[in-house]
């Protein structure tokens, strides 16, 4: 009886599992497999971990890889220290019961998220353009023209500028998730706090923030995965060479250049897969650390 009743589960799961296997799992494992081969004189040759030895052992490859990884961590760091606090602050303001036009602000802040990367990259490139851009003339209008620099063209500032553009685009997502979490906090808890004399800032710090911590954890891990898979914004605004002097090169653009080739450089699917495998490992490690080390220790409250 018990075995019969389970048969339908398999039937219902089958379509999803098959489609997911065909378009996600199989390509993923095939990419991992491709990393173990290289193209020799007569077609594909199995070389074991030789590609990884090249990627981490050859000073050129490893230099490019660590540069991209370092840039990726900086990109993620800027997101964590700018996007999430702003998202939380916006959500806290929006959830204030006496705020007027809350729906309008909410939509306005969320709109950039639904724009294409290409549009965002292009629009910001125009805004920040030293020649036609609105940023230099706006700074000029308030007498701060001297503060303007061609930020996207300088090694010191290009990556941070792009990270902030990305924050501008995606700040709507943490805002929405935390807004939802804040709305789900029961009034009784806040009222109980008020009776004990905890109001305003203290109420936010001691009552609301602990209750939205799980949401912040989820947002952090989503940001992590998104940032380490990022490619589009850099490609759209700086091109595949991720200039100036590879200062905006992240793992995604490094993978793209290697896998598909660029200009006179022919694509190398095997080294490309090696980089993709390394990216997969990094993201997997990050997600595992979150799932096992952080999420299990996080306290949850039932209302």
């Amino acid at each position: 009886m018990a075995t019969r009743s389970r048969a339908h589960v398999i039937v219902f799961l089958a379509p999803a599992v098959l489609v997911y296997t065909a378009v996600m799992i199989w390509p993923l494992f095939n990419t991992l497999r491709l990393a173990l081969y290289t193209s020799g004189e007569e077609g594909r040759v199995f070389t074991g971990l030789a590609n990884f030895a090249t990627l981490f052992g050859d000073p050129r490859w490893s230099g490019a890889f660590w540069n991209a990884l370092g840039n990726n961590f900086w990109f993620f760091f800027i997101h964590m220290i700018v996007q999430n606090p702003i998202g939380i602050a916006l959500a806290a303001i929006l959830s204030h019961p006496r705020l007027r036009f809350a729906a309008l602000y909410r939509s306005a802040i969320f709109i950039p998220t639904i724009l294409s990367f290409v549009i965002v990259g292009f629009a910001w490139k125009l805004i920040l353009s030293p020649i036609w851009g609105i940023a230099p003339s706006m700074l000029d209008a308030v007498g701060l023209k001297s503060l303007f620099a061609p930020w996207l063209g300088r090694e010191s500032s290009a990556l941070t500028t792009l990270a902030l553009i990305s924050v501008w685009q995606f700040v709507g997502i943490p805002m929405m998730l935390i807004y939802a979490a804040l709305l789900s906090i029961p009034e009784e808890i806040l009222e109980a706090g008020e009776i004990d004399g905890i109001t305003g800032w203290a109420a936010f710090w001691w009552i609301k923030l602990p209750l939205i911590l799980p949401s912040i954890g989820i947002i952090s891990i989503l940001t992590f995965v998104g940032n380490f898979n990022a490619f589009d914004l850099i490609y759209a605004s700086q091109g595949a060479l991720a200039g100036p002097d590879f200062s905006t090169d992240i793992l995604g653009t490094f993978l793209y250049r290697t896998f598909f080739g660029f200009q006179l450089q022919l694509g190398d699917p095997h080294m490309g897969s090696t980089i993709a495998t390394a990216m997969f490992a990094i993201i997997l490690a990050g997600v595992c650390i979150y799932l096992f080390a952080i999420q299990t220790r996080m306290r949850r409250y039932q209302f």
Partner: protein, 417 residues
């Protein structure tokens, strides 16, 4: 009923068959130049068909970005056209090595082309040529004639004059001396390094010595162009670090910049956009009277599908492509894409005529990184983009950049080790 229809059809076919010439052949051309469709249909093909009755030609281009992939799969499937438009260097060489392109070394029209013109479509040893060269692009500087007249300056011939002119424009302040940015990187390499470089490495002589391993990128002729580029930064517009290729084009055609380091492919676009008179000068030489060298980069050619059933007719067409008549038709239809034919071509466009006139007084060469040297990792062409942009921005010294490129090249290229 059916039988009668069939008979009728057969009769019609027979009649049509006799209407056209007995050996009527249709040749199909594969190309990525879909921009040129009307030029081929209205000018080039009618001229050929009028001279060669019995051969019909069809031009069937695909999108530039898809061309290589589409062509390869068509060739593999045996459905590609008889004539194949050839990309320069390794892309076409791979097709020839794979037996997809026929050897055309014995074509009579090949005598009309110089060795440099053919180098992009030859085996590495130069023994076999597999495409008939069609056009090249020439590097130089386009300048705003009105601005030059206003400031009372003449196009410079030597390096010192070049910087004197830039200083004068900068001092006056009305115009940005030179319109170029480093954001897209390739301009710095293509319109910068490859533009002025041949004067230092003596064109073909230096390029071949580099391939043979007799010269290094750290040798004086290859470092000096970087030293020159390092001086350019001071004359580019405000915020040139973030200036893109379209920005530079617009700055120049709007009349805000006086000089534009150019490739001749800009000519038709600039003619349409700019409402001032333009002139051009070749890359300046070090001392007055020095032999001058220009980058006359081979860009497009046409070859024969080895599996074509109409090889005879196709060869007739290719002979015609190699003729002076085709050269004149093509160069005039597309100003800025210059015929590689040794026969001089008279062009109506004055700017294009100016560019091509340098071939008479200067030696032609191609971009130094394109043949053989960009086959490995790190890729020399891509590294040159990065190095040129770095040097202009002052982020890397010319010597360091050259040493880095040399180390990269030597890491995989035997003759340089």
């Amino acid at each position: 009923m059916t039988r009668r229809t069939l008979a009728g059809l057969m009769l019609t076919t027979a009649l049509l068959g006799t209407g056209a010439a007995a050996q009527d052949v249709t040749l199909t051309i594969e190309s990525w130049r879909n921009d040129d469709l009307s030029i081929w249909q209205d000018q080039i093909i009618p001229a050929f068909e009028a001279a060669n009755p019995g051969i019909k030609v069809e031009f069937t281009p695909s999108a530039p970005a898809e061309y290589n992939a589409a062509l390869n799969s068509k060739l593999d499937a045996g459905t590609a056209g008889d004539l194949i438009t050839c990309r320069p260097f390794d892309a076409s060489l791979a097709l020839y090595d794979g037996g997809k392109l026929a050897d055309l070394s014995d074509l009579g029209a090949m005598a009309n082309f110089s060795d440099v013109a053919k180098s992009a479509w030859q085996t590495d040893d130069g023994a076999h040529t597999f495409c008939v060269p069609m056009a090249s692009v020439i590097h130089g500087f386009i300048y705003n004639k009105d601005a030059f007249a206003e400031l009372g300056i003449e196009p410079p011939a030597t390096v010192d004059e070049f910087f004197a002119v830039l200083d004068k424009i900068k001092e006056d302040g009305t115009y940005i001396p030179m319109a170029m940015g480093t954001n897209d990187q390739w301009e710095a390499a293509t319109m910068g390094y490859q533009n002025i470089g041949p004067n230092y490495w003596k064109g073909e002589e230096g390029r071949r010595a580099l391939i043979a391993g007799n010269q290094k990128l750290t040798d004086e002729p290859w470092v000096e162009p970087y030293r020159q580029l390092a001086r350019w930064g001071a004359y580019l517009g405000d915020g040139y670090e973030a200036q893109t290729y379209p920005d530079s084009q617009n700055l120049f055609t709007l009349g805000r910049a006086a000089i534009y380091p150019a490739g001749s492919w800009e000519i038709s676009g600039f003619n349409a956009q700019a409402d001032f008179e333009m002139g051009a000068f070749p890359p300046p030489v070090v001392n007055a009277g020095d032999e001058c060298y220009i980058s006359d980069h081979t860009d497009i050619a046409i070859g024969l599908n080895a599996a074509s059933p109409n090889a005879e007719a196709a060869r007739t067409f290719l002979e015609w492509v190699g003729s002076a008549e085709f050269a004149s038709l093509y160069a005039n239809a597309l100003p800025g894409f210059f015929s590689l034919n040794s026969a001089p071509v008279e062009m109506a466009d004055p700017l294009a005529q100016e560019f091509v006139s340098w071939r008479d007084k200067c030696q032609s060469t191609i971009r130094s990184t394109y043949q053989i040297l960009s086959r490995g990792t790190p890729n020399l062409e891509n590294e040159t983009w990065n190095a040129s942009a770095n040097v202009i921005r002052g982020a890397e010294s010319p010597e360091d950049a050259a040493a880095r490129l040399q180390a990269g090249l030597a890491s995989w290229y035997g003759p340089q080790q």
